[in-house]
């Protein structure tokens, strides 16, 4: 609904997120549809309220980016000081989570082997593989040669035996 219009003012928090929060805050309470719609719009108003106030505080401090300090001061001046402790806690939690993730990813990178070393290892493996292949090929070749030689010898002795047999026959014929 909000996203189809190009108008910035129609930007709202998704209804589903609001419904979920209402359900968690007021379990088992029936909430009218127009009341839910109103909560969605109140959310947007609240965000605008905090942003404008924080922005003003930011401008007065001559900084360009709205900082957490500015938001906290805005909450205080608008009467939401009671929220401050809890939002600060969440910020700490978010930072801890982000820090853990960064540590995890850098630990992984440190275990990793640098690229040149990897390349060198790869070349070594290739060379080894080529050598093994060459040796294997040579072995096969030698085996084939041996087999061929044996076959030749066998064929030769077989034909020799045949010739010897046939010449004997001729001699016998001559005698008659």
């Amino acid at each position: 609904m909000a996203s189809s219009s190009g108008n910035d003012d129609d930007l709202t928090i998704p209804r589903a997120a609001i419904n979920k929060m209402i359900k968690e805050t007021l379990p088992n309470v029936r909430v009218a549809n127009d009341a839910r719609e109103l909560v969605v719009n109140c959310c947007t108003e609240f965000i605008h309220l905090i942003s404008s106030e924080a922005n003003e505080i930011c401008n007065r401090s001559e900084k360009k980016t709205i900082s957490p300090e500015h938001v906290i001061n805005a909450l205080e001046s608008l009467g939401f000081a009671s929220y401050i402790t809890e939002v600060k806690d969440v910020l700490q939690e978010c930072k801890t989570v982000a820090l853990k993730r960064r540590k995890a990813s850098s630990r992984l990178e440190n275990l990793g082997i640098p690229e040149e070393e990897l390349l060198r290892q790869q070349q070594e493996l290739f060379a080894k593989a080529r050598q093994q292949q060459a040796e294997l090929a040579q072995q096969e070749w030698m085996q084939m040669q041996q087999a061929a030689q044996q076959a030749q010898m066998a064929a030769a002795s077989a034909s020799a035996a045949q010739q010897a047999g046939s010449s004997q026959d001729e001699d016998e014929e001559d005698d008659i």
Binding site: L38, K64, V71, C94
Partner: protein, 120 residues
């Protein structure tokens, strides 16, 4: 081959965090649609998002507790409207109560009224 953490990564990390349920990217969009707001520090965004969550919780709770629907276990539009009027910190909400009339609808009804007057 560094793993870059761009903004959307951080958004999903924080939303995946059990402490924040609202979508942070949407909150940023709404903040930026405020006039004059330029850049917002990521931590400031987390704070605003969490504050908005707390606001929803407080609004719902106090509207219900002070409202007429407690016996019937319901929360109505008027409960919210009353809370906005009675609680000082919620006064800023009176701008959006009652329901917004779109400008063009208002102009249309204005035109109609003028036509009716012209006919008389």
């Amino acid at each position: 081959m560094k793993m870059s953490q761009n903004n959307s990564d951080k958004d999903s990390h924080a939303s995946g965090n059990k402490n924040i349920s609202l979508p942070i990217s949407r909150v940023r969009l709404i903040m930026k649609s405020s006039p004059d707001v330029s850049s917002i520090n990521q931590d400031a965004l987390f704070l605003t998002t969490k504050a908005t969550e707390l606001f929803v919780q407080y609004l719902a709770l106090s509207s219900f507790n002070n409202g007429s629907g407690k016996d019937t276990n319901t929360l109505s539009y008027s409960d919210l409207a009353n809370a906005a009027e009675e609680t000082e910190t919620f006064h800023f909400l009176t701008d959006i109560l009652p329901k917004k009339i779109l400008a063009r609808d208002y102009l249309k009804s204005l035109e109609q009224m003028q036509e009716e007057e012209a006919d008389i």
